[in-house]
């Protein structure tokens, strides 16, 4: 692809449309619990990572998130994501039986970079989860995704998820972001 700076306004509008539609569709597959079809949207070398956040003073704010190689909530390759999906599908996967009702709100989508076949996209997200008698959790934060243009269309090659919560308020993270 052209570099972002080299694109015409119309090209950028079109790319924005395609990226947003991809992200919406991808979110919908998760919310519809079409996990296998969601897996199809990932590259083989996908990296899915959610570091641990800590409350720090302003002075030490750079150290809020753990770094790659340290502890994380998710630090998954494709095989691990397939395992997660297999677990979600398995009988007696109790955390999700009865199934959670999730809704991914993907907003403020910004294409930050286009390099070769990869598009770096930032968004603000809110994942809302409702379970049983309307017990509600929500997670808010910033996502940085890398989408790769493949012959089969856009694919998710990297997802970095930066939550606002330090102490997670929910009983688990049994859903995908």
């Amino acid at each position: 692809m052209k570099a972002l700076a080299a694109m015409t306004l119309d090209e950028r509008v079109r790319l924005q449309f395609e990226v947003e539609q991809f992200l919406y569709r991808e979110a919908e597959l998760l919310d519809d619990r079409e996990f296998e079809r969601w897996l199809e949207l990932l590259t083989d070398d996908v990296h899915y990572w959610m570091p641990v956040r800590r409350t720090t003073t302003a002075r030490e704010a750079d150290g809020a998130f753990t770094q790659p190689g340290e502890m994380a909530f998710f630090d998954d390759d494709r095989a691990m994501l397939e395992t997660r999906v297999a677990k979600l599908r398995a009988r007696n996967s109790w955390a999700e039986d009865p199934p959670s009702r999730t809704r991914h709100f993907v907003t403020n989508v910004q294409i930050k970079d286009v390099a070769e076949d990869e598009i770096t996209v930032a968004c603000a997200f809110r994942l809302s989860r409702t379970r049983l008698d309307s017990e509600e959790d929500s997670w808010v934060g910033r996502r940085e995704d890398v989408l790769r243009l493949t012959p089969a269309g856009l694919r998710l090659a990297r997802r970095h998820i930066f939550l606002e919560q330090t102490l997670l308020l929910a009983q688990n993270l049994s859903n995908l972001f």
Partner: protein, 454 residues
Amino acid sequence: MGAKDRRAPLDVAELVDFERGLVDRRIFTDPAIYQLELRNIFARVWNFVCHESQIPTPGRYFRNAIGNDSVIAVRDREGAVRVLLNTCPHRGNSVCRADEGVARSFFCSYHGWNFDLNGDLLGVPGYDDFYRGTLDKSQWGMASAAQVQSYNGFVFATLDSEAPPLEEFLGWVGRVGLDMLCARGEIEVVPGVQRNLIQCNWKLAVDNLFDWYHPKVSHASAVRLNVLPESTLYPNDQMVLLGDYGHAIGGPGLSSENQARLERQHDESAQTAGADGADGSRRHAHAWRLREDVRERMGPVGVRTRGHPNIFPNLWVASGGTQLCLRVPRGRGVTELQWYTFVEKDMTPAERREVIQHAIHFFGPAGLLEQDDGENWSHSTRGAAGTAAGTRPLNFAMGAGLDAVRADGDQASIDTVVNEHGQRWTYQAWADWLAAPDWPSLVANHTAPPTEVI
């Protein structure tokens, strides 16, 4: 007839029936019980607050909780670890709001009282001009825990000056439990303590750590994926160690024969882990247990256990000895889980990565195992509040009265099958703690580890 509850106040002595393995459900919901726990257990016991590797140098601190008190564990200028109550003695403000970091002193954001890393009151704005020298600074430093001691790097603090020394409190079982983590080598905490809330009473989270009965069902989906070898879930041999003050270890052990075989194998190949692949492919597996110093410190019985230790009341040595999980009460019906992951300092990057990936993918809130636990505990807590349900005791009777205790000196152990001895022991100790008005009384009156059939 008045509208007041006509039921007598709960009698602690009747809440736990050790012999029959029955526990009154009201202990998970009664507000007065909870207050009593805060005072008689958490404000008295040795509480885990951090590992020394988290605060390696002067000024490094880690904020945590002892019961419902916020505390700061900090390395002082002399290199000693201090545990300070995180509440300004002036007007009560939190002196520290960050989770961790490095400080030269603790500066209160309200009026600027400034405290040394050991809690001493260093600076008081207007000391001369406003207080006119009348404030006795030596009396108004930050309150410290009454005692702070480490066991091989694990920092514990008690708010009670009458508490016996940490090692005495731990006893053989508590020490063996921690040894399972620290006897392997020099260890350190991987950055990033995972924390999350579960809407359950803390005791239901704690008793689950002894629960080798639930994995095959609670974690059935993970089992089906073969990510957990089924052998680890229902191991043939179970071993229980019961200690003073509520410490216990329950879970897989090696029979003497298997232990002997393992030793032979080890003699043949120091590189081979032997038959017990329970904890996966991690290097050396249990080979460290064959080290002379380890055998000496853990003893011939201790070295055989591969189970889950609980350092009473709420510290689980988890994940086959690479993690600690602390369960902090945040109310009668809310528990904070904290996961600390340890690596040995001399691990290769690949080994280190393997430990961390295991921790992320099996335990913690997104772990394939752990994600299925919380709702069982929260529903057990909720159910206990039911007017009718609350009258029916919970059942912890598995194995009750069936198993003989082998006493090697003061070391009591049980070789058996899957059981609920550890849970019964924990609740019995819990009742002892609640009933004791103070430490001397607890020392005198707590249930001694059994020596006969239990």
